[in-house]
């Protein structure tokens, strides 16, 4: 799996972390502190192409970050090769499906 070898994984982890740090904190603060968001506001916000793109960027960063992180955990604790490959495949498939689903949700509501 050269694609995620050593430094590449490290860098992807850090970059996705920075994206999540910036956007995620902004979103979390808005939800926690700002006035209660209504359905209408939420729906119109997602429909805007720029907002939808930002949402997709955040989701992308989230899934990449989650993958590198969980891969590290599996590498450390799941040693037998067959089991490790199985677990990695299941997790990769699971995260890919979730990522695709998220993309689908955002894109269909932005159109």
């Amino acid at each position: 799996m050269r694609i995620f070898a050593g430094q590449r994984a490290f860098v992807l982890q850090r970059i996705s972390a920075l994206v999540l740090l910036a956007c995620g904190t902004a979103i979390a603060l808005r939800l926690a502190i700002g006035p209660q968001v209504t359905f209408a506001q939420w729906r119109t916000w997602v429909a805007q192409p720029l907002a939808a793109s930002v949402l997709l960027l955040v989701a992308g960063a989230l899934f990449i970050h989650a993958w590198v992180g969980i891969r590290d955990v599996v590498l450390d604790y799941v040693r037998p090769l067959a089991l490790r490959l199985t677990v990695m495949t299941i997790l990769a498939a699971g995260l890919s499906v979730l990522a695709a689903w998220t993309g689908f949700i955002v894109v269909t509501h932005a159109l």
């Binding site: 070898a5 050593g6 994984a9 590498l75 450390d76």
Partner: protein, 231 residues
């Protein structure tokens, strides 16, 4: 003072067990090693390595009350009883407190711990400015006692593949040595899933280093250098 010592003799095929000892301390008993030597007078089957008795050879590294340390510079005063002496964690035990350091030294050799320089040798030494020599501080003092590597969780999970804090600190020692010309080779060697990047900066290594070194920081610096060279 009460002691609890890990005993294991593979020649007798017995399982490891803890043995209790009692020692009346004298004024001259300051360090754990002093106590061990006197305990050996009581029971000469206790096996442990020791040499310089002043914290520079690294022979008597062991786990004292759950923390790795050098027995010769760990004070007895203040240790909670029974003082528990165990071999360095996760290393194969040869006997009692003596562990097999083969894997540890293999990792050390893997990082090529010597100056690589094919330029024609000068008349006398390869010179270094004081600033260049300064860069080796905090790296050259390592005595290869293995307190750090045997206390490092990623080293426990990946003993053969993760090089461990000691070897990585030594890798950095040669990467920053101005007389060495092999920096890019050394860095490329380290860039894979296991050798360097299993480090999670848990910092157990820095916590237990008897010479006050910081392998975690050295490792971070290697990662930063790798980043710099790839950007």
């Amino acid at each position: 003072m009460r002691f609890k010592i890990y005993r294991f003799d593979p020649d007798r095929h017995t399982k490891p067990e803890w043995q209790d000892y009692e020692l009346r301390l004298e004024a001259s008993d300051r360090m754990v090693l002093d106590a061990l030597e006197r305990l050996r007078a009581q029971d000469d089957s206790i096996a442990f390595r020791r040499s310089c008795r002043e914290g520079v050879c690294g022979s008597d590294a062991m786990n004292i009350n759950g923390r790795n340390a050098l027995a010769c510079i760990t004070r007895l005063a203040g240790l909670s009883e029974p003082v528990t002496l165990a071999p360095l964690p996760s290393f194969p035990v040869i006997r009692d407190l003596i562990v097999d350091m083969t894997q540890f030294f293999a990792h050390y050799h893997a990082i090529k711990p010597y100056v690589m320089n094919d330029e024609p040798p000068p008349e006398r030494e390869r010179l270094q400015s004081p600033e260049e020599r300064e860069r080796l501080n905090g790296l050259y003092e390592c005595i290869l006692c293995a307190c750090c590597t045997s206390f490092c969780p990623p080293s426990w999970w990946h003993p053969g593949k993760f090089l461990g804090p000691a070897a990585l600190l030594q890798a950095q020692r040669f990467i920053v040595d101005s007389r060495d010309r092999g920096a890019s080779q050394r860095l490329e060697f380290l860039d894979d899933v296991y050798k360097l990047y299993r480090c999670r900066t848990i910092m157990n290594c820095a916590e237990v280093c008897p010479k006050g070194l910081n392998p975690a920081q050295a490792i971070e610096r290697i990662k930063i250098e790798l980043l710099r060279r790839s950007a």
